[in-house]
């Protein structure tokens, strides 16, 4: 249920972006969901629906899952995050703080914890679309 906290961030940021761009009405909010964090899409979607402001009352929330990907800084190996390969403890830690990947996951080639999360880290606001005037 900490998905609620993430949803609050998305809604507040979408409101700010809409204001910055002079949108009177938001029609679509695209959210990247990095799969490393293993966010529950239904809970997040439910929270977004509950939290939405009048400006976004008719908006469509699009959740775009992005696979977690790593690249080792030592040996250059690249690999994808497979949720089934980490145990429950690790999975939960990474769910709250994706950087905990460096505590629980090692490079599949050389064993190093020194890798980049090149894609799919956490929740990110990709775009906010809307209407400038009540068209």
């Amino acid at each position: 249920m900490h998905e609620w906290a993430l949803a609050e961030g998305i809604v507040s940021t979408a409101v700010r972006v809409a204001e910055d761009e002079g949108l009177l009405k938001i029609t679509e909010i695209v959210i990247d969901i990095g799969e490393l964090q293993q966010v529950e899409h239904e809970i997040l979607m439910f929270a977004l629906e509950q939290l939405k402001t009048p400006t976004m009352k008719d908006a469509r929330f699009v959740l775009k899952p992005i696979q977690g990907r790593f690249r080792c800084r030592v040996c250059g190996e690249e690999w994808a995050f497979i949720p089934e390969t980490v145990d429950k403890e690790a999975s939960e830690a990474i769910h709250f703080v994706p950087e905990m990947a460096h505590v629980y996951i090692k490079c599949s080639q050389c064993g190093s914890p020194d890798f980049d999360v090149t894609e799919g880290r956490g929740v990110w606001l990709e775009s906010v679309k809307g209407l400038k005037r009540d068209e």
Partner: protein, 239 residues
Amino acid sequence: MSDPRIEVIERRLEKVENIIAVSSGKGGVGKSVVASTLSLELSSRGYSVGLFDLDFTSPSTHVILGIQDVFPDEEYGIIPPLVKGLRYMSIIFYALDRPAPLRGSEISDAIIEVLAITRWEELDYLIIDMPPGMGDATLDVIRLIPRIKFLMVSTPSKVAYETVRKQLTLLRGLDFPVIGVIENMVMHSLRLRSQVEEDGAEYLGSINYDPVLEEALGDIERLKKTAMYAELTKIVHHI
């Protein structure tokens, strides 16, 4: 593309009256001991207090306070557990006792994530135990929590104070409030007062090296009976 976490950080801290970062350019000067005992003492005085261990690669306050077997509640975010009278938050809830080899950008990302999901209740004081130096954690609290105040800790050693002086210079350049400097682990004479004042900061007081502090680590009741704690108590009204 926008980071949806930054926007809510301020709101997560809006019920907190005072936010104090216990900081030093140097490691091993007693930041974690001061942050821990300061939190305990403020709480004893009836204030509601939170302690946030922001030293993600070398967290220590759980060792000092003997915190174990607690975990945050999840309720529209993360609720720091109430331990020994304090609302407590640390990366050890997630890293457990394993090494956390994080680069600066990852520490920064982890700090932002934790700040964005942790719901601090009404608090008179939130004490933040900082890692040493002027790296990502320090730059991020300056950037993300503009109303934070710095409480600096140094030992009498010139090696330690040299790094504290640099941090004072940095904070003054940014017009950032510094509560003052505590001189910790004094063994002979006090050396820093005049130098601290020359550098334009308040000298808050000194704490002697306490040879039995180590024995008391991990046990709050014993900690509160140490000479170190008694001396800290005398400094608290300046804070």
